[in-house]
């Protein structure tokens, strides 16, 4: 047997594309955020509401990732925002190469920022850098307040946490301790911004919008 030291990053090929994406976007001073959550957490609803409510302030483009169909891209396009659908055909996360291709199809000159809606999954997407400025994790109250403790990776790596569907808390049908989520998420990531929202009713969305606009300004500076 002969041992050979290699010391190579296994996801190096993905990281090269992520670097390309990041260079392209920072050259253009465009903010890019990678939205991650389980399926059914309200990623698309949050995006559609954000794009609609900020339509006279921010020009937003979207890259949609799903295993199959372009249902989400259609929902975004109904707001008049440009959306490129990536169908991963079974893969549980987006890769930086797919995002690179999608970026070349977006009208970047006409945009202030880009959202990437990753494939619904709380684990795998957090392992693949796409060249984004930051990750945003969505946690709906229906998923339970133990998720930061159970899935530390994504909460540790995210810039902001949207606790979604807070309108359901008033129904009394959901047991969810918001303070526990805040404490656990901040233990993993002291700098994480936390926004309790309802993308359906609009509750709490203004704070999220203020933060988003400040991030776009930072990228433009």
């Amino acid at each position: 047997m002969e041992k050979v030291n290699v010391g190579k990053r296994i996801l190096g090929a993905n990281e090269q594309y992520a670097h390309k994406n990041s260079e392209l976007l920072s050259r253009r001073k465009q903010l890019c955020l990678n939205l991650i959550s389980s399926p059914g957490s309200g990623k698309t609803t949050t995006l559609v509401r954000t794009i609609t409510d900020l339509s006279d302030q921010l020009r937003i483009g979207v890259i949609e990732g799903d295993l199959r169909t372009d249902i989400d891209a259609q929902r975004v396009r109904a707001t008049k925002a440009p959306a490129i659908q990536i169908e991963t055909e079974g893969a549980c996360h987006l890769s930086a190469r797919q995002v690179n291709k999608a970026l070349s199809r977006l009208p970047l000159d006409a945009l202030d920022m880009i959202f990437i809606e990753n494939v619904g999954n709380l684990v795998c997407p957090s392992a693949f850098e796409l060249g984004e400025d930051g990750k945003i994790v969505l946690l709906p109250v229906t998923e339970g307040d133990d998720k930061p403790a159970k899935y530390p990776g994504i909460f540790a790596k995210s810039k902001a946490l949207l606790v979604n569907k807070i309108d359901l808390l008033a129904s009394g049908l959901v047991d969810f301790d918001l303070e526990r989520v805040k404490t656990d998420a901040r233990r993993l990531n002291q700098d994480i911004e936390i926004f309790p929202v309802s993308a359906r009713t609009g509750d709490g969305m203004d704070q999220w919008y203020d933060w988003l606009k400040s991030q776009v300004q930072k990228a433009h500076a």
């Binding site: 002969e2 010391g7 549980c92 957090s126 392992a127 990776g153």
Partner: protein, 114 residues
């Protein structure tokens, strides 16, 4: 199941190295940070399946999981984070920041010698 993508990338890298060495790889040692969430059993299974028909077929994998490291803001020392404790192992402070997770690295390959 991102283990399949990681296995595919790993096999690509090993195949490149095997061409350089002109030898059959037998063992690969990799290291990865805990936040990568790589499951050993799923990973080995995916590797085995994807390796079929390549020079990596029949190889064994050894995965070293590196713990999450954190720096305490009170005593400023770094420590391996115990997920069920979530406090500094030196001064038991609860105010700390996580350090970047160790990347997935192919550390070493053992090749069959002619």
């Amino acid at each position: 199941m991102h283990e399949a993508s990681v296995a595919q990338e790993l096999i690509n890298v090993i195949c490149q190295e095997a061409r350089k060495q002109a030898a059959k790889p037998v063992v690969a040692r990799i290291s990865c940070g805990e936040l990568n969430g790589l499951n050993d059993e799923v990973f080995s299974f995916a590797f085995e399946a994807i390796a079929q028909g390549t020079v990596c077929e029949g190889m064994s994998l050894e995965v070293e999981h590196k713990p999450i490291q954190a720096r305490c803001r009170a005593c400023e020392r770094t420590f391996d984070l115990n997920r069920s404790e979530l406090q500094c192992t030196h001064c038991h402070g609860e105010d700390f920041e996580l350090l970047p997770d160790a990347p997935l690295v192919l550390e070493e390959i053992e090749f069959e010698k002619e």
